[in-house]
């Protein structure tokens, strides 16, 4: 039977020692709270800056057959967003795109002006390099320009034919997004937040788990610990609680480290989702709650690995299958939508990832949440039993 006093003695000692480990502090607290926001901030800052630069930049555009469509070419040459260059052949323009002297080329068909004037469609072709993001952007800009030209030409044609503007618009559609600004933002956040939280819960405790069991074997302290009156169950419980605590702290730090910089409303996110992102506190509480069985499950699995390994180095070699077990469902959650079939609520890790996705996207489903929570606790319990059983077996603890 487990005596709380001895379990807490083991737990308090392990926590004290763990929190003195600089590697743990760096990986579990400093990195998610300082490095991650800094990285996200830096990436978003430069992405936003580049977006602004793109918007302000002048597109170098090549024109082949400029004399065949003077109406369009004249407009293009006078547009401030473009710098037009004339080319004699399609091949020359293509080479120029490859050489990056121009980003995009407009190939005008021979009889373009005639067709345009006859109220037909003028043949045009756009050349661009899909592999080059600047060329891609230039292609979009050129299409927008032509779209604008088309719209104006269409208006002229309708007017000339004495028709109503509605003639060219058989339907009038208005689209309204019922999601609040925060929900839209949360949807974007929900794409990657579950993945990062699952990773933090699973891997936040690795260093601690390996140190507490495989490390103890390596240093010879395990023997001296097992020879005290504390039972193996008390010892393993104390150790498991330590790993769980560290994993939970890692997850909380990861949530804070991601939400904080985003919630403070970076300009880029405003552009991306139309509003700043905010997740309400209730969502965070639900996320924290669902993280507990996840952290318990992964902590127990880590303890199983650590108990089995003879030393920390050997434990590292067993981590690859563990990575696969955890990463695959987590990655799958980024592909599957939040409204997945109920059977996914029974799949470990995937159920938690999808539940988090639902929470962050305002798609909270109590039934899905309930099943996920219950099955996750069940899997965590089974993993704990496995860890305790491994710790009881002398052929595992004293493997040579």
């Amino acid at each position: 039977m487990s005596r709380p006093s001895l379990t807490s003695t083991v737990f308090l000692k392990e926590i004290r020692e763990t929190l003195r480990d600089k590697r743990v502090i760096l990986g579990v607290i400093v990195s998610p709270l300082l490095v991650t926001p800094l990285l996200i901030g830096t990436v978003l800052f430069f992405a936003g800056k580049k977006e602004i630069e793109k918007q302000a930049s002048i597109v170098e555009v090549g024109i082949v057959g400029h004399a065949a469509f003077p109406t369009l070419v004249k407009r293009l040459k006078t547009d401030e967003g473009f710098n037009a260059h004339q080319f004699d052949s399609r091949e020359a323009a293509k080479q120029a795109i490859k050489d990056r002297t121009i980003r995009v080329a407009l190939i005008v068909g021979e009889n373009a002006q005639t067709e345009f004037s006859s109220n037909n469609s003028a043949p045009l072709e756009i050349l661009y390099n899909f592999a080059n993001e600047n060329s891609q952007f230039a292609q979009v800009q050129l299409r927008n320009f032509i779209g604008k030209f088309d719209k104006e030409a269409l208006a002229d044609r309708i007017e000339a034919a004495s028709l109503s503007e509605k003639f060219a618009k058989p339907t009038k559609v208005e689209t309204t997004n019922i999601a609040a600004g925060s929900s839209a933002g949360s949807f974007v956040l929900g794409l990657f937040l579950p993945y990062i939280i699952v990773m933090s819960a699973a891997f936040g405790g690795i260093q601690t788990a390996f140190d507490l069991c495989a490390g103890e074997k390596e240093r010879g302290t395990m023997e001296t610990l097992l020879v005290t009156p504390a039972s193996r169950y008390e010892i393993v419980t104390g150790k498991l609680l330590t790993i769980l605590t560290i994993s939970f702290i890692a997850s909380c730090c990861a949530i804070t480290g991601i939400i904080a910089p985003v919630a403070f409303g970076l300009e880029f996110f405003k552009k991306l989702v139309g509003d700043s992102i905010s997740i309400n506190f209730a969502s965070i509480v639900w996320m924290m709650l669902i993280v507990i069985p996840l952290a318990l499950f992964t902590s127990s699995l880590l303890l199983v690995i650590s108990s089995f390994a003879r030393n920390q180095k050997e434990a590292q070699t067993y981590i690859l299958p563990f990575f696969s077990v955890v990463i695959l469902p987590a990655v799958l959650s980024t592909v599957l939508g939040a409204e997945s079939h109920i059977y996914t609520a029974f799949v470990p890790i995937l159920n938690i990832s999808l539940t988090m996705k639902q929470i962050s996207g305002d798609l909270f489903d109590p039934l899905y949440f309930g099943i996920s929570l219950a099955t996750s606790f069940l899997y965590a319990f089974l993993a704990m039993r496995l860890a305790a059983s491994f710790f009881q077996r002398e052929q595992i603890l004293f493997r040579t």
């Binding site: 001895l6 023997e223 001296t224």
Partner: protein
Amino acid sequence: MGLLDYHIIYQQLKALAKSDENNSIGDSFNNAFFSIILLERTFLTASNTPKTVIVAENLTKTFRDRKRGFVKAVSNISLTCEPGKIFGLLGANGAGKTTTLRMLATLLEPTRGTATIAGFSIRDDPQEVRRNIGFLSGSTALYGRLSAREMIQYFGKLNGMSGPELTSRINDLVERLEIGEFQNGRCDKLSTGQKQRVSIARSIVHSPPIMIFDEPTSGLDVMTSQTIMAFIEQCRNDSLTVVFSTHIMSEVERLCDHVAIVHKGIIAANGSVRDLYAQTSEPSIEKAFLKIVNGMDTENV
């Protein structure tokens, strides 16, 4: 003074301490108070300890090995240790010494046979067995990120000690083992000698009546080995029962009251050092050991 006398003094002091609202009883008095508690604890332990403190009967341990199948590491080992004596297990590497000690310390469960330690069965009452033993090996086995004092305190707590009783015991050990200078320094920063002293303190913090040493000087330099040897002798002077394993002959000659030569998992010879000389007609333990072991190997061939 008998146990009853100690108990009466203890009860009177306890009542006095309770009524001491003005804290007029000084620290020295409190120290004396807890010394008596310790004395009582030692007395109780001593009075409950049977005459033969370790009795092992047919201890056998079989391991399953993937390549070799079932391997008998220890076979039918029976031994008896008298209180206040040093019992040595002498054998080459892989002879079965560590397995035997691990079974006595309840780290491994015997495949067959049993043993009683201080009257408690290793099979039925392993926690009581562990409460009555101190375990020390050649590895200092300290937690690097704990201080020396925290280390001793942790093991005291694991052995059920707490509060002023534990503090008093730690202070006593810190003084006796000269740990004071580095008691608040992290264990991973200590020298080997300092670590060994902390390791000793860790193993005796709960005042066990029995000490088990598993090759305690293995890998240590001469100076540190001498500290350990002196400590084992001190244990005998303090009337503790000691079982220790070694493959160093000089340690056996210097320390052991009784020796069992372990070879290939069985006890090949058993007796005092003088008995072994007599049995083999050899003048030294080294020669006696080799004669016994080689004789066994020849018989097997």
